[in-house]
Symmetry: C3
Subunit: 391 residues, 3 copies
């Protein structure tokens, strides 16, 4: 079976741990792996602007001794001649040994994986997922703060369109962490993520209103969502519980940029204060590292860059060894424990159509579009994972 | 002598056969050739949008262990500073060991070959030629249908601006195939191609009107051109002959996309039905494979993709081994039988100027522009090969 | 200490000579160095259009057996998401072993070097410097005309925005050459360059009016600046001295393109005749080679291309071995004599702000902006090197 990596759930817990162990070993000798993937070619297909992720993957492949071919400018590629993603993928897949795809539409990577004969890695599909970033995030957490179980991680900012937190929040609860999601205005974690988190055995979800830290520096009444093992949740009441931050130790605060390019007109955002020294001087965040998938615009004050807790540039650097490990697995050079978290959806199709206008199936390949039944029984699109309309 | 590959006629019949034999051997062990071209650098100069051809060449070079430097965005290159192609070519040629050039103007590759000290490969020059695609097409025909001699190949679509069919039709008649050209409206094979085909010893050309297959599905009176060994032509009459398809077995139908980016206003196109299951269920095309240089827009119905006769994605994949073979020859690593089909035009210059506004000599290098005498005695441009005006 | 190459003065005279000696040895066996930099990755960050320089660096790295990752399209990179150069540099630096940067703002490379942990090479920063081009220029002069001391080099054209002549003129006087700067109108060498040249021990500067060669072909009264060892200067008088070219032998004339993309509205230019056969047939330029950093637009008549003294394409070719030598030094594979020409500016900071609107500190990183005291005691920006306003 070919080794696609489309969502973080394509790798089970034991596999993720082994992948991080492998990254540790690679990191000790970054320049010593040029004989690992001789004769392998990676197709780097970035149909949406990107620098960091593309360069990180391309550096990783080259550090392994593999080769890279790149198509990164949507305006000069065959798509301007009217080619579908399906055709592009089948062609490039026929040239290379592994395909890394970024695409502006949700579900594009899943479609590509269905069509390609070789392995496909999702390097970001619309506002859906960005699972290799999650590998990098988890790996940074582990390198900087030790085992993930029991950690409390704050997600802060645009949680609706910031796809990196979609993969990350799923992975954090899988490893037994507590997640406190503080959205920027109404840019909350989307339903397809929340339903996954809510279904986690032993976990519960509670809407809360944050108290203290001057209620996040005077914008009093900041709403948030706490996703935690049931024992750690505040008692359920009539309305949202009040969350007293004083008693909590946050191990990391993960900040995301407002995804202006995905905001349709009216949506909110801009309601949260930027992360600055006031946060890190509060007891709650005193020992917290600061993470960010980058690029940063102005969510994190530059004054923090010199603080040793500012871990975002170290986080970027760790993307290379963990992506090297991922490529070694995808190309079949190392094995990982079986047991992907994600159950195969074959055989559980449901009648209906995805109604998400940003789903790849809204643009092409309607013949492949299909709905599947989620764990809670609701139908959702097999590509973008949004709940089906009327389902 | 340096080994340029500008038109398909730069390689003789025996050379083409040996090149395909070499590609067969490479194909058996695609990842085993990384030691073939150590220390060689390919300049990939794509001054017109392209994904497939560029990635195919770059993959090929890398699979041979060579290296690649790429300039693929016309908007960020030195041409925006006003540099001529002649200067760009001389500079990049001085860096690299082999130059692969795509350019929007006809004849650009011939000009580049004249200026470069190293070998130049034409990766498509305007609406002139695209000979490495022809290698791929011929190789696919041979892999899928055996020896080319005696095959009947239908060319279907935009034959005027679809440069791939220009090289292909020449090569097919060289190997003894029969070509039935079915143009989309007035987008027929251009005169510089037809004159070559007509001059082929033993061959004849006949305008025909196609009968049956419900006269290509009800657009009755579809005109076509049959290029075949004389014995296989219908008798010449006053008007176009009627061609009964029923008696013919077509081994491949080669479909091209309407080259909208090259169409000047008024030209036709859009007159032919898209290729769908009705074609393949007719006896004429029953055993025919379907080829396409890709990208496809809507010339081939997607319903055909799953049909084993749909060979266009296999055709794309075969581009890599045949281009690997080509690069090995151009870089001097393998020899091929001498005797290029194309006669050197040196010493047979004719007075006059090319009048083709899409010829590279219309834009630059007027001092190098020259006309040569074709086999039939007519003067034609040595670069774009169009007949000289008034000649 | 890491080995940045931001201005030509980062390497002392002895180091430059050894670098050219190394390039000589490399040039003898260009394809034989693929084992020199295994496991090293170069980040090629071109945030301004370029083909030649980028391809030259990328070819050089690949000929050394290193690998390259490229970000060359400003429009598809993270900068469109609002990322600062400082962040981009820190991220890419964390992936690669050496960073090559081109940027539209002066001083950008110095800022990058301050932030990166690995070595940074300036591949052109605004209208400031382009020191690897200077390596190439010096190396060409030495290959074609022997030792640089005592040569007379004419700089001809846009000397204000043509950053290549800024580095070059500094290097020429360091090696004891005489420079005759003939600007196009008011596009003279900028003050930050002139003050450096004037401070050279044993050197003097004289404004002159050129006499003969029909006073540069009838545009009589052409003003120029002579920078030469004192003994070779005309006597100082009340006004500009008249310079009789007849007695001088010029070893090279270095032509630059009008940098239209940097001209703010009113600036002059276009006052000098294009360089054609009349120059080379004059006794003064009879033995002169013609150099140009390329791309050329129309500053040099194409009729000269075939003249053996037209050295600009040979000059482009020599960029590869000299950049290979540079990369070997930056990556720590070879050592060069210590003693950079440029004194560290640490500890000599001056109060104030740079007022150059094209300086990187005008756009970002105001907290790092600083002025330093030049050799003559004037304050200048540590990044773009322009004199501070009011200083």
């Amino acid at each position: 079976m070919k080794r696609d990596f489309i969502t973080i759930d394509d790798l089970g817990d034991a596999a993720l741990v082994e992948l991080m162990d492998l990254a540790d070993r690679i990191r000790g000798n970054l320049r010593g792996h040029t004989a690992d993937l001789p004769g392998h070619v990676m197709g780097s297909l970035f149909l949406e602007p990107s620098t960091r992720t593309r360069l990180s993957f391309e550096t990783s492949m080259q550090r392994l001794g593999g080769r890279v071919v790149t198509s990164s400018d949507p305006d000069t590629s065959s798509t301007v001649k009217g080619e579908t993603l399906a055709d592009t993928v089948r062609i490039v897949d026929s040239y290379v040994d592994v395909l890394v795809l970024r695409h502006p539409l949700s579900g594009a990577a899943r479609l590509a994986a269905r069509l390609a004969k070789g392995p496909v890695i999702n390097a970001g599909d619309g506002s859906h997922e960005h699972p290799s970033q999650t590998l990098c995030d988890l790996y940074t957490l582990r390198c900087e703060r030790g085992p993930i179980a029991g950690q409390t991680v704050v997600l802060y900012g645009d949680l609706r369109f910031g796809r990196t937190v979609h993969s990350l929040s799923r992975a954090l609860v899988r490893f037994g962490a507590t997640v406190l999601a503080i959205p920027d205005g109404d840019l909350t974690l989307p339903p397809f993520v929340m339903s996954d988190l809510a279904e986690r055995p032993g976990y519960g979800v509670r809407e809360v209103v944050i108290d203290d830290m001057e209620a996040i520096f005077k914008r009093r009444g900041v709403c948030a969502t706490l996703i935690a093992p049931r024992a750690m949740l505040p008692a359920a009441g009539a309305g949202p519980a009040t969350l007293d931050l004083a008693g909590r130790r946050v191990s990391a605060i993960y900040v995301t940029r407002l995804q202006k390019e995905r905001l349709a007109g009216g949506s909110g955002g801009g309601t949260l204060p930027i992360l600055d020294h006031r946060f890190l001087s509060s007891p709650t965040f005193n020992e917290s590292i600061v993470l960010h998938p980058l690029p940063r615009v102005s969510e994190i004050a530059r004054e923090l860059d010199a603080d040793p807790r500012a871990a975002y540039f170290r986080q970027a650097a760790l993307g290379v060894p963990i992506r090297m490990a991922l490529l070694l697995w995808c190309c079949g050079l190392v094995d990982l424990p079986k047991g992907p978290e994600r159950q195969s959806s074959d055989g559980a199709w449901v009648e209906g159509r995805c109604a998400n206008p940003s789903c790849i199936t809204a643009k092409e390949a309607p013949e492949w579009a299909r709905l599947v039944k989620g764990a809670s029984g609701t139908a959702r699109c097999d590509y973008c994972e949004e709940a089906a309309s009327g389902a």
